[in-house]
C-alpha cells in the first residue's frame, strides 16, 4: 500500500469542520482497521445524503421526500411555526420533545454588512405560507441570540405585524449549569428582563 491513498484520506477528512491533521490521521488509521462492510456502509451513507437530500417544499428542513417528516405528520400542531436559521437548529429543538408545532428554516440570518438581504433567505416563503395556510396563530422566532439572529428577529417581527399574527421570541439569558459569576452583563440583563413569577408546584 502506498502512502498516497492514506494521505488522500487524511486530506479528505481534514475538509470536515473541527478536524485537523492529527484527528484526520487517527480516523484514517481507525478506518483502515474497520471491517470492509462497515466502511462500505459509511461511504454509502455519505453518498446517499448527497444524492437524496433536498429541502422540504414547505419548511426547508432537509428531507429525502417532497415534504419532511414533520410537515407530513398529521399529529403536529399546525397553529404554530417555529422559525430557525439552520436545519441543525431544528434538530436541537426537536431533541427537547417539548415543541409539537411546525418549523420554518430560513437558511441563514440577515446581515447588512455581509449583504445578506431578506430575499436571500426564505422569508418570503414564510409569509406566503402563513397567508395561504390560514391556520397559523403564532410564530415563534428561534433565531440565534446574537446580532445577526436579533436583526433577523426584528425584521420578521416587522413584516409579520401587518398579518396580525402573534409573534414571540424565545427567551434569552443564563445557560443551565453555568454560574452567574461568569456571565457577562448583557446576558444577566436579558435574564432579568425575562424573569418569571415563581409558582407553587406542590
Amino acid at each position: 500500500m502506498s502512502n498516497g491513498i492514506v494521505e488522500n484520506l487524511i486530506n479528505a477528512l481534514m475538509k470536515l469542520p473541527g478536524i485537523g491533521r492529527k484527528t484526520a490521521q487517527r480516523l484514517s488509521f481507525y478506518i483502515m482497521g474497520m471491517p470492509a462492510d462497515e466502511v462500505k456502509s459509511i461511504a454509502g451513507a455519505l453518498l446517499e445524503i448527497k444524492e437524496k437530500a433536498r429541502f422540504c417544499r414547505l419548511c426547508f428542513n432537509i428531507t429525502e421526500d417532497e415534504l419532511c417528516a414533520i410537515c407530513s405528520d398529521p399529529a403536529r400542531d399546525k397553529s404554530s411555526i417555529c422559525v430557525v436559521e439552520e436545519p441543525s437548529n431544528l434538530i436541537v429543538i426537536e431533541r427537547t420533545k417539548t415543541y409539537k408545532g411546525l418549523y420554518h428554516v430560513l437558511l441563514g440570518a440577515l446581515s447588512p454588512i455581509d449583504g445578506i438581504t431578506p430575499e436571500k433567505l426564505k422569508i418570503n416563503e414564510l409569509l406566503e405560507r402563513i397567508k395561504t395556510g390560514g391556520e397559523v396563530a403564532e410564530v415563534i422566532i428561534a433565531t440565534n441570540p446574537n446580532t445577526k439572529g436579533e436583526t433577523t428577529a426584528q425584521y420578521l417581527s416587522q413584516v409579520l405585524k401587518p398579518l396580525g399574527i402573534k409573534t414571540t421570541r424565545i427567551a434569552q439569558g443564563l445557560p443551565i449549569g453555568g454560574d452567574i459569576e461568569f456571565a457577562d452583563e448583557v446576558t444577566i440583563a436579558k435574564a432579568l428582563e425575562g424573569r418569571k413569577e415563581m409558582t407553587d408546584n406542590n
Binding site: P17, P112, I113, T117, Q154, P175, D184, V186
Partner: protein, 278 residues
C-alpha cells in the same frame, strides 16, 4: 482619566506579545465550528483582526463581548506579523440597545462598512476611535430619549434617524479625508449645482471641460442639499442632528454620498443595497 496600564504591550523571548487595549467590535466572521475572527477598531493599533477560540459556544467565557458594536477592554496574544488571539475581553459598553433596533443597527453597519473599506489596518487613529465611540453613545442616548416619547409615529422617528445617521456619515468622511466637495466649484469656487462623482467635487459649467462632461452625467444639487451638507459638517453634532430637513433633501444628499462612495470604493456598499431592499 484613562489608566496607562490599559494600553500596554509585553514582549517575551519568542517575540510573542501581550497587548492590552480598548476596542470597538466592527464585524465578526465565523471561522470553523465555533470560532470567530473579530475586526476591532482599537485605541492603540487602529483596525485589527483577531482570532477568538469558541466564543459561539453557550458557555464561552467571552459571553456577548464579541458582538458587533461592543466597546470592550481586550487582551491580545501573538506575534506581531500574525493574527493575534484574544485571551480576554471585558465589556465596557455593550451598546445593546443599538443592536436591538433594526434601523439603528443597519445604519451603524453602514458607517462601519465605510470605515472598514476606507481605513487601512494597523494604523492607530485616536480621533477616529473617539468619533465612533461618540457616535454610538449619541445614538444610544437618542434611542433612550425616543423610548420616552409618547408618539407612536414610527415614520417620524425613522425619518429623524435617516437624518442623524446621514450627518454621522458625512462627518466620518470628513474625518477620513474623503468627503466630497459640494459647496462651490472645486476648481474656481463659483457656485455650481452640478456634482461629478468621479471627480469628487461640484464643477461649474466653465471648469467642467468637455472631456469631464462627456464621461459621466453630473448629479444635480439643490440649495437645500448644499446647505444641509454644510451644516452637517460645520455645526456641532448635537445641533446639526436637530435639523429637520425635507425628506427630499435627505434622500438627495444620501444618493449623492452613495454615488461618491461607489466611485471611491469601486463597488456599491452592501449596507446601501440592504437599506434599499428593506
Amino acid at each position: 482619566m484613562r489608566n496607562k496600564r490599559d494600553e500596554r504591550t509585553t514582549l517575551n523571548a519568542k517575540n510573542e506579545m501581550l497587548t492590552r487595549t480598548e476596542g470597538l467590535v466592527l464585524r465578526t466572521q465565523q471561522y470553523g465550528e465555533a470560532d470567530l475572527i473579530v475586526t476591532y477598531l482599537t485605541l492603540s493599533k487602529g483596525i485589527i483582526k483577531a482570532f477568538a477560540k469558541s466564543p459561539r459556544k453557550t458557555k464561552s467565557r467571552f459571553g456577548s463581548s464579541m458582538e458587533p458594536l461592543t466597546y470592550a477592554r481586550i487582551s491580545l496574544w501573538g506575534k506581531e506579523q500574525s493574527m493575534p488571539r484574544i485571551t480576554q475581553s471585558d465589556i465596557i459598553n455593550s451598546f445593546c440597545s443599538l443592536r436591538e433596533s433594526f434601523k439603528d443597527f443597519t445604519y451603524a453597519s453602514k458607517l462601519i462598512e465605510i470605515l472598514i473599506s476606507i481605513t487601512p489596518e494597523g494604523i492607530p487613529n485616536k480621533k477616529l476611535f473617539s468619533f465612533l465611540l461618540g457616535v454610538l453613545n449619541f445614538a444610544e442616548i437618542q434611542i433612550t430619549k425616543n423610548s420616552k416619547l409618547r408618539t407612536k409615529n414610527w415614520d417620524l422617528r425613522n425619518k429623524n434617524k435617516d437624518t442623524m445617521y446621514l450627518i454621522f456619515q458625512v462627518r466620518l468622511l470628513v474625518m477620513l479625508g474623503y468627503a466630497p466637495r459640494l459647496k462651490g466649484c472645486g476648481k474656481c469656487g463659483v457656485k455650481s449645482p452640478d456634482f461629478y462623482p468621479h471627480i469628487g467635487t461640484a464643477l461649474c459649467g466653465r471648469c467642467a471641460v468637455p472631456s469631464v462632461k462627456g464621461r459621466e452625467l453630473p448629479l444635480r444639487l439643490t440649495d437645500s442639499t448644499i446647505n444641509f451638507y454644510s451644516h452637517s459638517i460645520e455645526w456641532p453634532i448635537n445641533i446639526s442632528t436637530r435639523l429637520k430637513p425635507h425628506h427630499e433633501t435627505v434622500s438627495r444628499l444620501s444618493s449623492v454620498m452613495d454615488e461618491h462612495l461607489t466611485y471611491l470604493l469601486g463597488k456599491k456598499l452592501m449596507t446601501s443595497e440592504f437599506l434599499a431592499k428593506i
